[in-house]
Subunit: 335 residues, 2 copies
DNA sequence: CTGAAAGCGCTAACAG
DNA sequence: CTGTTAGCGCTTTCAG
């Protein structure tokens, strides 16, 4: 077994409490002389702090936990980078646990893994919690915040403004002269899809366009959903522009359009939602409404800090991170 | 604060140890009658186990830790899926911490995050540990295993056989009739690149081909490295086939070839190494030597289990996971 | 500045 | 089957 604080104390000839003070940098409470001896002994003994013991007595730790849906989302990495950077800056450690969002049972295990130890906060990345598990989370009294998804109730979250995303994407195409614009692979009913759809309709209605039902092809944001949507539009579609629900969906639309003999952007303009690096490795490169995932991670960590510091009532529970449009090669002016 | 085992004991009128027994499912040691009452009370009180306390006394936990290089690798997710599945099957929990492999300091923090608590094992995903940090890891006495990378020393790892990868990729092109074959974006000196290069040379020498220096363009496996390599080969390259060091590198080669006016696979065949989903979303779809990343995760967990069970001497420290070739659209017969 | 002592929440003998 | 006791490794009063 690893050496303990007592071993060091014995070796140096001081009390365990003194060793603790040195090793926890409670300066002012020891001479640099004893500090040296203690540190020296610690090194020799290969001492490693037992955080379980520390957390047990302090009842808090400096670790932030992120729970991530294991469904492959290519932007999760960016959010995690943001969390990591901000956490590290403030001296927190980050641990992440993956959870298959499909199974409430798996979800619960993931959640318990972090709840059952004194983490300072929990960040949930695009994960749809079951009611039971949400209850579990609330009961834990650990500050939490959802990232990259929103809700109608008062749960704290930080995400992009999905209404704005739908609106901006649509407006971008309108300003390029497009009138018949499709919305592909979007999930119509849950919060995110619903708002994007609303933004789409809003932009359209401002120029007096009423979208046909067939313009809106719902789906699950996946590559395959993109392909299916494009297939449904067909080779002879009246659409001249398409908004894809995600980068992967956009690539699906793009590839299927090509399969159908359509040339992008000549015959069809495509604008994607997300703006991950995927947009830049396909040809033509995809114009996108880009979300600032990194920033979501940063804001999420700050959100946790605030929950710790302030009373719940003062908190601005639901925060939006701005989006911006990256014009690349998949869109062009429509005459 | 959350309720403790004592609160439950008081409420039900039994001893804390009894509560502990019920809650830890030490069946045989209590009547179903008391069990009911205890569980009922636990539910009412919203009891949550304090793992810090458990781990402190048991000196071991059921969590496996994965340390992942935060450099974006699109296969890390697959490895983690494999770890997760196998861990979950055996009742372990997985926590992952991200570490920027560039900074030894960051690395150390990540490592300490997991070493300073009683995890049952540590899996390291394509992370190049500094000497100090490797020492730290060894000292911890926690079983560990590197995944998706190999070493010349006796460190435990599980990876693909990189010599075989280089050999198979090259041989595949040779059998298609190619004679002038390039190797792009590979890191020549470290273990992985060195072995792949050796496999490449071996296959070539078997058919009496000696590669020119210019055929081998080293790089860092990235998209950009792929582009640079293709650019170095140039529009009028004598090569008819190229092996790319990774999927992203292959896409870089592919796009740059197209930029140069070369058609794939008509003018140039490309075979990629990795075989992630990226291969299927580009056009043409990329032929690849596919690694079984998921399996690496699975084997990694088993490796940890074995280290716990057996004496170090008996262990087969370095394990290879088989690769296979997926022929897709980016390669064709060369006359 | 340092030591002694108490205790975080839980489990594991040991008696009964 | 259940209660009593001790203690995991650390921090934190409280004295001195």
């Amino acid at each position: 077994m690893s050496a303990t604080i007592k071993d060091i104390a014995r070796k140096v000839g001081v009390a365990p409490s003194t060793v603790s003070r040195v090793l926890s940098n409670k300066s002012k409470y020891y001479t640099s002389e004893t500090a040296e001896k203690v540190k020296e002994a610690a090194r020799e003994l290969g001492y490693k702090k037992n955080q379980a013991a520390v957390e047990l007595v302090k009842k808090q730790s400096n670790v932030i936990a992120a729970v991530v849906s294991s469904v492959k989302t290519n932007f999760a990495g960016q959010i995690i980078d943001g969390i990591q950077a901000e956490a590290s800056k403030n001296g927190y450690n980050l641990i992440v646990v993956y959870s298959n969002s499909a199974s409430a049972e798996e979800q619960k295990k993931a959640l318990l893994t972090v709840i059952e130890r004194p983490v300072m906060g929990i960040l949930l990345l695009s994960i749809a919690l079951s009611d039971d598990n949400l209850e579990l989370l609330k009961e834990s009294d650990i500050p939490y915040c959802f990232l990259s998804m929103g809700f109608d109730d008062d749960r704290p979250f930080v995400s992009s403004d999905d209404l704005e995303i739908g609106y901006e994407a649509t407006n971008f195409l309108i300003e390029k002269g497009h009138r018949k614009i499709g919305l592909a692979a979007i999930d119509k009913y849950p919060y995110t899809g619903r708002l994007r759809l609303a933004g789409y309709k809003k932009a359209l209605s401002e120029v007096n366009i009423i979208p046909k039902d067939s313009w809106i092809q719902s789906g699950d944001y996946s590559y395959n959903a993109g392909k299916l949507a494009m297939n449904a539009y067909g080779k002879n579609t009246e659409l001249t522009g398409i908004i894809a629900a995600s980068d992967m969906a956009a690539i699906g639309v793009l590839n299927q359009a090509r399969n159908l003999g359509l040339s992008v952007p000549k015959d069809l303009s495509i604008i994607s939602i997300d703006g991950t690096e995927m947009c830049q490795i396909v040809q033509p490169q995809l114009t996108s409404v880009s979300q600032d995932f990194y920033q979501m991670g940063v804001v999420g960590v700050r959100r946790i800090e605030e929950s710790l510091a302030k009373e719940p009532e003062i908190l601005d529970n639901q925060q939006m991170v701005p989006v911006h449009i990256n014009e690349r090669e998949s869109t062009q002016i429509q005459n």
